[in-house]
């Protein structure tokens, strides 16, 4: 009988270690899935970026509406002219009917290097990627512009 007991003991010890080993095997599998997942979304972004660059020569830049709050905007995407005004007035190129938005809130105009975002002394400021802008700022692809409750993404 002592033989059997010793045998059980050995198996017990092996199981104690294999338990921890298996838990880490599981963790490594999960992390591998997460890794490939991140990798794939990274590749997707890269390809979108490339397309953007190629079409840059032909197409005008766009403002995509990311979050419109509860305000009704006329379109989900606005193409930018040489100069585009944003604000509450009817005369603006992009009308944002919100009490937090000034009548003439901001403008985007095409310069030599690209599109420049300017705040037109608005009451509640124009935010670029979360920071209020103080002077005309050059826009990059994917920049987030926030005016009142509305957030646009710049594509160009």
């Amino acid at each position: 009988m002592p033989n059997k007991e010793a045998f059980f003991n050995y198996i017990g010890i092996v199981l104690q270690y294999s338990l921890l080993g298996l838990i880490y095997y599981f963790l490594s599998k999960v992390i591998k899935i997460i890794y490939t997942d991140l990798d794939r979304s990274g590749q997707k972004k890269l390809s979108i970026g490339n397309e953007g660059n190629q079409s840059n020569f032909h197409k005008r830049a766009n403002l995509l509406v990311v979050d419109s709050g509860h305000i009704k905007l006329s379109q989900n995407s606005f193409s930018l002219d040489d100069i585009t005004y944003l604000g509450r007035n009817e005369q603006n190129g992009i009308i944002i009917d919100d009490s937090f938005v000034s009548h003439e809130h901001a403008s985007i105009n095409k310069g030599q290097q690209g599109y420049l975002l300017t705040d037109l002394n608005s009451t509640n400021k124009t935010y670029l990627n979360g920071q209020p802008i103080v002077e005309a700022t050059l826009l990059k692809n994917g920049d987030l512009i926030k005016i009142g409750a509305v957030t646009f993404s710049f594509k160009g």
């Binding site: 199981l15 104690q16 338990l19 599998k29």
Partner: protein, 421 residues
């Protein structure tokens, strides 16, 4: 490309093998093979596989990691409970079964999550009502005065209240996100949000303080208050809310500390447990001994003495893991939580609707805060708290409510797939 459900199945099989391995190790150490426990393992494994097959049939394309991560945490919990309190093992197995069906129901029902936003005030009232009921009619079981007994049923309302509170806050905040961001008042150099919009936060603060004083439950108070503050911060992106929240919580805590002796006692135990190691600080001192004697590799399942700690199978289960599975095992458990919370935040970020985004983020924060607070309490990083470790601790309310929470996260992680098509 491998199907997501196939991926989930592979991981579930590994988690099942881990659970079988652990249960066998405990059985062998006791010297007898208990076939009942092996049957229970088969039942749990079959339950998870059945959940996988049902999700496959329904054509659910949710995140394939939630269910396997939960199944491994539940498996570790069952192994530890079998070792600590064999008499509670079968009950816990039953609760996991109930939890799994709750998971499936909530995963399928939460597809219509947007409709819940219409009932946000009802959700808020249910949540606050559950918390208040625990404060007013709470019965003391095992040192925590947060049980409600209704005839044969007894449960911990605070475990369920957090889901309702998250739903209410998500609906309320996502509806008012512009106001919270933009409406400001200037007080000298400070830019503060308009008082009208902080009112609900003040209400949550008051509720937290009430729980703190009457229930002696700092953990739950911090959990709910932290949830409200972090969700407001996520919606508005304004750090002033966090600063106001922290200051008001500190002020409230200091006032309570000076007014009530039982809170002073709690804090004194936390600051210096060695002044009274066999009296008031017995539990935390035993927990520290357990963690210390575990070391890096641990003593091995059944070879430690975690049963010295009172309430080891619920609040202090992490100390038992630390003693018997060592730093390696405890670290793995923390990693599992980190991965789960990461996936929950990822779900939130990938979700398109503001409401479901906030719900996912709120559920992620509640799970993260709860795990952080109880582990911090067990390792004496924080004054002791009376909340459970999600999915691992023994307890029906905890298991079922966490499975419902997971089902909602799972469902939100799918909605995006629909829109992407």
């Amino acid at each position: 490309m491998i199907n997501t459900r196939q991926l989930e199945r592979n991981l579930l099989v590994v988690a099942g093998i881990i659970m079988l391995n652990g249960i066998l190790a405990v059985n062998l150490a006791h010297g007898v093979l208990n076939y009942q426990t092996l049957g229970a393992v088969a039942f749990i494994f079959a339950g998870f596989m059945a959940a996988n097959i049902v999700l496959c049939k329904v054509g659910h394309t949710g995140d394939p990691l939630f269910l396997p991560l939960a199944s491994l945490l539940v498996g570790i919990g069952l192994i530890i409970i079998l070792r600590l309190k064999p008499e509670l093992f079968m009950l816990q197995v039953m609760w996991v079964g109930v939890g799994l069906s709750a998971f499936l129901i909530s995963a399928i029902l939460a597809k219509r999550l947007e409709q819940i936003a219409y009932f946000k005030y009802i959700c808020g009232f249910i949540g606050v009502g559950l918390l208040l009921s625990a404060i007013l009619f709470g019965v003391d079981i095992g040192g925590n005065k947060n049980w409600i007994i209704m005839g044969p049923i007894r449960f911990q309302p605070s475990e369920f209240a957090k889901i309702f509170i998250v739903l209410f806050l998500a609906a309320y905040l996502s509806e008012r996100r512009e106001l919270l961001t933009l409406a400001t008042k200037h007080y000298g150099p400070f830019v503060l949000p308009h008082p009208r919009f902080i009112a609900p936060l003040i209400a949550v603060w008051g509720l937290g303080m009430l729980m703190f004083v009457l229930q002696r439950d700092m953990g739950a108070a911090l959990l709910y208050f932290g949830l409200a503050i972090i969700m407001t911060y996520m919606v508005s992106g304004r750090s002033s809310y966090v600063i106001i929240g922290m200051i008001s919580f500190l002020v409230g805590s200091v006032i309570c500390y000076n007014l009530y002796s039982h809170i002073q006692l709690r804090v004194d135990i936390w600051l210096n447990p060695w002044s009274d190691p066999s009296g008031g600080a017995y539990q935390i001192v035993q927990s520290l001994f357990a963690l210390g004697s575990g070391g890096i590799m641990g003593s091995g399942l059944t070879y430690g003495f975690p049963t010295m700690i009172p309430e080891v199978h619920t609040d202090f289960i992490f100390a038992a893991i630390g003693e018997e599975m060592g730093l390696i095992g405890a670290g793995a458990v923390i990693l599992l939580y980190i991965l789960m919370i990461y996936r929950a935040f990822r779900t939130s970020l990938l979700s398109l609707m503001p409401f479901s985004m906030m719900v996912a983020a709120g559920l992620a924060v509640s799970m993260a805060l709860q795990t952080f607070l109880i582990i911090a309490g067990v390792i004496k990083f924080f004054p002791l708290t009376g909340i459970t470790l999600p999915f691992i601790s023994y307890g029906g309310s905890s298991i079922v409510s966490n499975f419902i929470l997971l089902g909602m996260l799972f469902s939100i992680s799918e909605v995006r797939g629909y829109d992407a098509k």
